[in-house]
């Protein structure tokens, strides 16, 4: 047997011993090693705080004194659930029910010039109303 073969055998035996030793002793040493903690990043998106439900009738759209250039107008807002909403304009009306999350939306037809819009929320025991004025013209401003 030449020297090189003997050296390779010895090295192989040594590595084998080292691996065996690690397998036997390793589990007992691991708890003693210092633990490295990674910074915690929560993957859960924060839930937005729900806006408190009000019992008021609010017109969210259109904005007061806004100028429209289309005669068809969508009126939307919030109101107490289980109420009937009547949106009354200068030429027609729209009757809609409020959704469970307290929202409503209805269409109206505008006339040229000033348009006074009244939104009335009706329930068995309470009636409330809000007004908004919008302007409409066919002319390009």
């Amino acid at each position: 047997m030449n020297k090189d073969a003997l050296l390779a055998t010895l090295i192989g035996f040594g590595i084998g011993l080292l691996i065996t030793g690690l397998l036997l002793v390793g589990p007992n040493i691991l708890p003693l090693l210092p633990k490295i903690q990674l910074p915690k990043h929560s993957l859960v998106t924060p839930t937005p705080t729900p806006t408190p439900k009000t019992n008021d009738l609010i017109i969210e759209s259109p904005l007061p004194d806004s100028i429209e250039n289309i005669s068809a107008l969508l009126v939307s807002g919030s109101a107490p659930p289980n109420t009937t909403i009547v949106i009354a304009g200068p030429s027609d009306e729209s009757v809609v029910a409020v959704t469970q999350d307290g929202k409503f939306a209805g269409k109206l037809t505008l006339v040229e010039g000033k348009n006074d819009i009244t939104v009335t929320a009706l329930s068995k025991d309470k009636t409330s109303a809000q007004n908004v004025t919008v302007y409409y013209t066919e002319e390009s401003l």
């Binding site: 004194d65 100028i67 009937t84 009547v86 009354a88 200068p90 030429s91 027609d92 009306e93 009757v95 029910a97 040229e112 010039g113 000033k114 006074d116 009244t118 009335t120 009706l122 329930s123 068995k124 025991d125 009636t127 109303a129 302007y135 013209t137 002319e139 401003l141």
Partner: protein, 238 residues
């Protein structure tokens, strides 16, 4: 060597950043100027009655203050005449007209540069309330409004009737379908000769929401004339 390279890179970055930062500053100035102009001159509409007129300006009395209107060369004056949208001139605007003016409002000059003026006719009004009586002979409804008024509503032959319920939505209505206790939304024109009496253009009936029927106003009953005698049917002779 490395230090030299680093110094050159820093110098190059500084040299190239200087013109772009100048551009950024210019852009900022222009944006600020545009925003300033925009805030000073913005699209606005005012409504009111014409107080004074001249060749180049008019003054409109609104609910809160008098607004000076500048009449531009490209202005359009519109009015609905006999149901038709008619284009007029600024000469047709007279004192006392109810107008809606659209244009650019200059806050610094407190002036509205008019682009379009709409001469409003008599605008219909709206009332809503609960029916307290139905006169089927004279085709009138008595409606109690939320502000405590009792209004007689004349149902005309041209009045449009609409009936709404939760299941079917809005459908065509009729005068015969109005009952005491129904909530109605009325588009009307006031009758100048009579107080608390209106002429209905459009009535939306959404039914009895409260479930309570108000006691109807008793109508005076006509007494039978004394000359009226009951007729007896002659018995057939055998």
């Amino acid at each position: 060597m490395i230090a030299e390279l680093f110094a050159i890179a820093v110098y190059a970055a500084t040299v190239s950043a200087t013109p772009s930062s100048q551009k950024l500053e210019d852009l900022k100035d222009r944006l600020a100027s545009a925003a300033s102009q925009l805030s000073q001159s913005q699209k606005r509409a005012v409504t009111g009655t014409v107080k004074t007129t001249s060749v180049s300006t008019i003054t409109v009395e609104t609910a809160t203050k008098d607004v000076k209107i500048e009449l531009t060369d490209t202005i359009k004056v519109i009015q609905i005449i006999k149901g038709k949208r008619t284009t007029l001139t600024t000469d047709d605007i007279v004192k006392g007209d109810d107008v809606t003016v659209f244009g650019d409002y200059d806050a610094t000059l407190d002036l509205l540069k008019a682009k379009a003026i709409f001469i409003q006719g008599m605008t219909p009004q709206r009332i809503f309330g609960v029916i307290t009586s139905v006169d089927k002979k004279n085709y009138t409804l008595t409606v109690d409004t939320a502000d405590g008024k009792s209004i007689i509503v004349d149902h005309e032959t041209t009045t449009k009737n609409l009936l709404w319920n939760k299941t079917n939505g809005t459908a065509k209505g009729a005068f015969s379908k109005y009952t005491v206790g129904d909530t109605v939304f009325i588009l009307e024109t006031p009758q100048p000769k009579y107080e608390n009496r209106v002429s209905a253009i459009r009535i939306l009936n959404i039914g009895n929401l409260s479930g309570v029927t108000p006691t109807p106003t008793p109508e005076p009953t006509k007494l039978a004339s004394p000359s009226a005698t009951a007729k007896t049917t002659p018995k057939p002779t055998p």
